[in-house]
Symmetry: D2
Subunit: 287 residues, 4 copies
Amino acid sequence: MGKYGFLGIGIMGRAMATNLLKAGFDVTVWNRSAEKCAPLVDLGAKNGKTAADVVAHCDITFAMVSDPGAANTLCFGKNGVLEGISAGKSYVDVSTVDAGTAILIHDAIKKKGGRYLEAPVSGSKKPAEDGALVFLCSGDESLYKDAGEALDVMGKKSFYFPQIGQGAQMKLVINMIMGTMMTAFAEGLSLGDKIGLKKTAILDVIAQGAINSPMFQLKGPSMTVGDFTTAFPLKHMQKDMRLALLLGDSYCQPLYTSSAANNAYITARKNGCSDEDFSAVIKNIEK
Amino acid sequence: MGKYGFLGIGIMGRAMATNLLKAGFDVTVWNRSAEKCAPLVDLGAKNGKTAADVVAHCDITFAMVSDPGAANTLCFGKNGVLEGISAGKSYVDVSTVDAGTAILIHDAIKKKGGRYLEAPVSGSKKPAEDGALVFLCSGDESLYKDAGEALDVMGKKSFYFPQIGQGAQMKLVINMIMGTMMTAFAEGLSLGDKIGLKKTAILDVIAQGAINSPMFQLKGPSMTVGDFTTAFPLKHMQKDMRLALLLGDSYCQPLYTSSAANNAYITARKNGCSDEDFSAVIKNIEK
Amino acid sequence: MGKYGFLGIGIMGRAMATNLLKAGFDVTVWNRSAEKCAPLVDLGAKNGKTAADVVAHCDITFAMVSDPGAANTLCFGKNGVLEGISAGKSYVDVSTVDAGTAILIHDAIKKKGGRYLEAPVSGSKKPAEDGALVFLCSGDESLYKDAGEALDVMGKKSFYFPQIGQGAQMKLVINMIMGTMMTAFAEGLSLGDKIGLKKTAILDVIAQGAINSPMFQLKGPSMTVGDFTTAFPLKHMQKDMRLALLLGDSYCQPLYTSSAANNAYITARKNGCSDEDFSAVIKNIEK
Amino acid sequence: MGKYGFLGIGIMGRAMATNLLKAGFDVTVWNRSAEKCAPLVDLGAKNGKTAADVVAHCDITFAMVSDPGAANTLCFGKNGVLEGISAGKSYVDVSTVDAGTAILIHDAIKKKGGRYLEAPVSGSKKPAEDGALVFLCSGDESLYKDAGEALDVMGKKSFYFPQIGQGAQMKLVINMIMGTMMTAFAEGLSLGDKIGLKKTAILDVIAQGAINSPMFQLKGPSMTVGDFTTAFPLKHMQKDMRLALLLGDSYCQPLYTSSAANNAYITARKNGCSDEDFSAVIKNIEK
């Protein structure tokens, strides 16, 4: 089974590392603010001194940080991943980064003889706790196989795409559809409400038909009562839509409908909803 | 149990009447082109001479015709429903008509002492055959109850909304969401395709996540192979979107994202896809 | 020169009839509320008893009313135009009506032997006072020529289109472009403002370049100070955009950009700007 | 009057430097491909050996290159502007660059004691030849004054904005409005055409009214005959719209209508119109 490292113990990282520990994996953890590692140590994790140290002592090291900037710092910074990597060592970054960042990290690690897999996840806190994440992987295919045991513990499904960067791009495509669906849903609920159809009735009808989706059933009830407790921050959804639209631009792919939805999220940011759940996009649509 | 009439034996009507017959109901059928009734007569149906005749001899008569114009003709035309209706007789129009038409028919029938229920269905050929339609009803509430036994045979679920016309409006709201979702889906598949992600891979990822829906699973595989065999004609989807947008306009409800999607369907009509399935909206987006 | 009638003495009608009188035309006026005719009588106008009476006694009668409903009532109502029309009499409706209404009135008048010209105007109060309107005519071509002398007094330019209804349609096309241009302008001013460019500076730069237009120079300064005194009510602009979009829909012409602009006007209506000038569309864009 | 340098002798640069020479200015020119300088030498220009050389020997040096990349190379490259600049020397870059590039160049030149003005132009070949450009300046205000004499020869108007980068941003705002206006115009012409109104008739009506603009009068006639000879390449317009939209995104400014127009240009690029005039956006709208 070997030794596993886990860098970045935030909400997601903690849940994922917890699942590895519960499954009996040998896990060494590290976090920028060391105190966050304590609950995992209580579960049997070892404490790594630095990211470089963890990478150097483990066979496969996972990382889950918040954005491309943090992923870059973690890899290229002092005592970072790059200082610990060498032939025989592997690095699986499950953070969401853009394709450019994934390629940069990939090339640097390969140059030092290590193996790299970009493996952004689809799913937020609950699926992370339930071991029900989906991994969108690209990079070293042999590593994809070797990391499979751990990925299977943390997630319900993994995908492998041949080109490095495609994991990130797949996630953008999915999130662009998600963001536009949510806006369509919000427009429908708002229109219905205006003409005297109760939102709960609309949800009931949707639940019976072809357009039903886990997202509508999960978010619909909270949206009808104005509860926008953050699962996926609206500003992150808008960032993903912006990046997906730029991707479309660079490939000459017009995206009229998604562009309109993107503007709905920008409007929501303007109105102070950046840190609320992305379903808060309905607030400015219906008001 | 009483006597049931069924007017309009097209693809949908035939499937629905068949289910009534199989469930042992006493059904009298009528269709403008009489020969279409033959398969139902083989299953035990009686042949009505005219629509008026069917309405006059049955307790509850259902009708399923193609559009508001046909619904008006069936009701107000020579030998039409209105000539047969009277106190004690009931009429359930399961066609999709606009709220104005529903109100018109409702008022005319009520004036003659009859009862009227507008009950447009959500679902197309397959659900009709499987008795899995959803009925969106408004009008006479006592008739909604009395027709329940038959509705339960033909569908899996019925909803009742207090204002006449709300059945039609609910359907528009649902179809607007559906049409916009389909466009979002088409934009995502097209973008993915441009950047080298296989459509089948995108479908696989969607199937694992929060945005999955029966529609994506049903339409996705045929869309990836360019099969647009008509289940719900694109021109009807575009008509529903137009009507929903006009409804929004009359209630001062901006609908930016749905408007963009509506233009995608108009573009598809311009390119000759009116009679294909509405999923053909992807053709002009991806080409 | 002959005798001229003028029906409908509102802001526009008064200015137009005044110009006819000042040019020495023999004018008989009529208005639903008779007191509005007094200032024109002071200028030498005769008072007509009813619309029918004016039409019957004049060679060419002009009408300027507020909308298709009023145009219909004026024509088909009691003591209306149709009661006065006969061979040798002519009716020029300079109100803005939809093509359907124009065709209806055209057919009714033609049937009674009269001549009809639809001649909606481009231009509002100021051009009306200055005799600088533009007439978009269709209908009887001989009447277009015979009415030319009067049109030349009230306007600076007239156009004739062969198909009845095309005057109305041309006006919709022009107003759709106008409404979308105004939204583009509002988005540009709002973006500039956000990044620290003064609106007055943007107007100065625009004034020097290829995109300058009388509309920007007229509306820009008042928009920068938040003055939305009504010249052309926002609700009428939105109505024209809706009608133009529906026209596009019926001809399979996608209109993505104009649809987005239309939603901006709907948003403005939702926010209480219906009766302000259409340039108030900027309020919700910039706020 | 002093000594002037001019770097970058393309279509625009040649016309601008020619105007300086004709006005009697002492001009030293340099171009990457030296042979392009010959016509200017014939008019009396001196030949510079390198960009650094020109900057070192002239009081004020202008530069007109194609994009931010070229502007960076010209400034920071071997024998570039930075090698020649020193206290008492001034650099006016009239190329169109993004605000970030302008700030970078500004800071580098200031550090070496020189003065810098970003001065992107509004206007293409014809205004350049006619000395009718508009300069959108920001940077060193004293240089703005000192360069005034030369700017007045090359252009009809100059503007100064206090923050470095605002010249570039003003240009983006103007071009965003321009691009959206052109799309509105194209949608109007296309709709008119579908309903039987000749494009030339629409142009005639526009010419009489509030929405008329030099752009419509210049581009309209060629658009009606399908002539899209490049004055401003479509791909550059789309790039400017993309940058303006990103600017809006970063300032939480929703831009629904401009986003739709941007997609029209992306569609045009997809259909092979990148190098045609930006008015070619009508091709895919009307087809």
